[in-house]
């Protein structure tokens, strides 16, 4: 019983139950270093597959943090945030490193679990009529002005 209780105590003390923000992690990097953290945010950029692992970046609205995860763990991610789409929102659990020995001193999280909280979606952006008309009218104006300039210069 004693050992079970000790194990539970150590597990809990080694883990920040509440999700940490990127600013929390950066501002208290020393305290979080080597501890298990929960971190939520949108997957952005590219999935970079490296052998059996992958790099992905999760942005919580303030900044993006690199997540190192086994390839199988990222296979369910369908949307990665960019101009054309909103990425999946994920909850990452893993060990935070302020200076990762495995990755040349990078600040990162080695994921032990990635849960998709909300699926992303394509961002449909219809052509703005206002921009189209302003663009077309201004182009005509410039061409007209150029023609007038040439006409006056030739006289």
């Amino acid at each position: 019983m004693f050992f079970v209780a000790l194990y539970l105590f150590l597990s809990v003390s080694n883990c920040y139950a509440q999700a940490a923000t990127s600013l929390d992690l950066l501002n208290n990097a020393k305290e979080y270093d080597g501890k298990t953290v929960h971190y939520n945010g949108e997957v952005i950029g590219d999935l970079m597959i490296r052998g059996d692992y992958a790099w992905l970046h999760v942005n919580d609205g303030s900044m993006a943090i690199g997540i190192w995860a086994p390839k199988v763990m990222v296979q369910n991610i369908s949307y990665i945030g960019n101009y054309h789409q909103k990425g999946d929102t994920v909850e990452v659990s893993g060990i935070f490193h302020r200076s990762c020995l495995e990755h040349g001193g990078d600040l990162d999280i080695h994921a032990s679990e990635i849960k998709i909280v909300t699926s992303g979606n394509a961002l449909i952006q219809p052509i703005s009529k206002k921009k189209f008309y302003i663009g077309a009218c201004s182009l005509m104006l410039v061409l007209l002005f150029y023609a007038l300039k040439k006409l006056f210069q030739s006289k």
């Binding site: 950066l26 501002n27 990097a29 020393k30 952005i44 950029g45 590219d46 999935l47 970079m48 597959i49 490296r50 992958a54 790099w55 970046h57 942005n59 900044m63 993006a64 943090i65 690199g66 190192w68 945030g81 960019n82 101009y83 909103k86 302020r98 200076s99 020995l101 990755h103 040349g104 001193g105 990078d106 600040l107 990162d108 952006q125 052509i127 703005s128 921009k131 189209f132 302003i134 663009g135 201004s138 182009l139 104006l141 410039v142 002005f145 150029y146 300039k149």
Partner: protein, 501 residues
Amino acid sequence: MILKPQLSDIKNIGYYLGRITLDIGLTMFLPFIAGLVLFKEPNPALDFLISANIAIFIGLALSWACKTDKDLHAGPAMVVIALSWLAAMALSAIPLLLSGHYKSFLDACFETMSGFTTTGLTLVQDLDHLSRSHNLWRHLGPFLGGQGIAIIAISFLVKGTGGTFNLYLGEGRDEKLVPNVINTARFIWVISIVYLILGTIVLGLVGISIGLKPQSAFFHGACIFMAGFDTAGFSPQSPNILYYHSLIYEIVIIFFMVVGSFNFNLHYQVWRGNYKEIWKNIETRTLLFVIMIVTLITLAGLQRSGVYSGGMIMFRKGFFQLISGQTTTGYMTIYAQQFIKEWGDLALTGIILSMALGGCACSTAGGIKMLRVGVIFKAFRQDIKRTMLSPNAVVVQKFHHIKTMFIEDAQVRAVLIVTLGYFFLYALGTLVGIWLGYPFLEALFESTSAAANVGLSCGITDTSMPAILKITYIIEMWAGRLELMSVFALFGFFVAYLKGK
């Protein structure tokens, strides 16, 4: 007696300003076409069409209204340059503002001034969702500004008169590679475009090897090259170079940052097969010496702070940030907050020193520049020799920069004036920062980064910083890039107009 500028001078300035504004407008068709054809981003493409039309209209109107055949003298040429950079900043900010990723026009202006001056400090919001067209424009800014806005005009739009050389001088360049200034400008473009193609291919291939998809890898490659070779430090993703988590990628970037910080005249010598010039040149020697000193300081600081446990890791992180600072690029493989929270004062001092001294003259790098540092060092040595030898002894000091030259007092005076000007700029931003409540070292770091056109940040540069600080940094970036003289000429011109007779 101060002479009031005549109407013909103002017309002359207006004409050349118009031509340069026109070329800024024309360059906006690059992201317009790329957005429409390559990236399938019609709305961002329209942002560039609208902005290009505005710039072209203003350019045509100015050059028409102020049409003149009069040659451009040195003073008005400097005024043209100073105004052109302000015009470039304002007009290029329009598409960025239309993207909706900037909180205000001031923020967009900050971004474009930072880009054109190859600084790299950024105020973009939600960069990870910014369109590729706008991202391309952010990175084209350093590529155009790094070579020089006037260089574009000299190469393609302005007739070859004595005025073109004055425009060339106004952008802080005083070395002609070949006797004709138009051919010099064109050669600078040839070097830059050859490197752009090579750099994009190399970084694209490395990008694919580290897991980026081919289209993404080459887009990143082109952007990272433009902002790396032109020592700007912008990147298409918010974590900057930390995004790639790759030692090879970092090594390739270090190579391009260093090459980009070399004097274009040195590139020309190497181009002609004169490889010995690399080792003989005062700038490369000084650069090597300075890098050794600041590396020692920075690594000693990092060792003391204990943030990195392994020696190799400490060297990798320290050296990358240091070369980024020394070449005035501003690429980062750490987060801005880590500078202040984890690096410690000594390491930070090493980086500030490297940023303040900067890269080579007649390159895309900023800061005081290695040629000046080398000349000051030699002059100092000459003075020490003078005090030690007999008063009648003639002490000469030589240095090698393309050819062997003797140090002259007038030259040392000119070098010291510009160096003092840079110290004044660094101090100006630091004082404003302290006045606004930022700690001394952070204020000094950010101010030096802005004035030396570096772009490393310890976290002050943010959309929430006071407008007065944004304006101060804009002025520092502008004056720093133009090596102060054109900015002084502009103020002198206004004073002469108001008080002259």
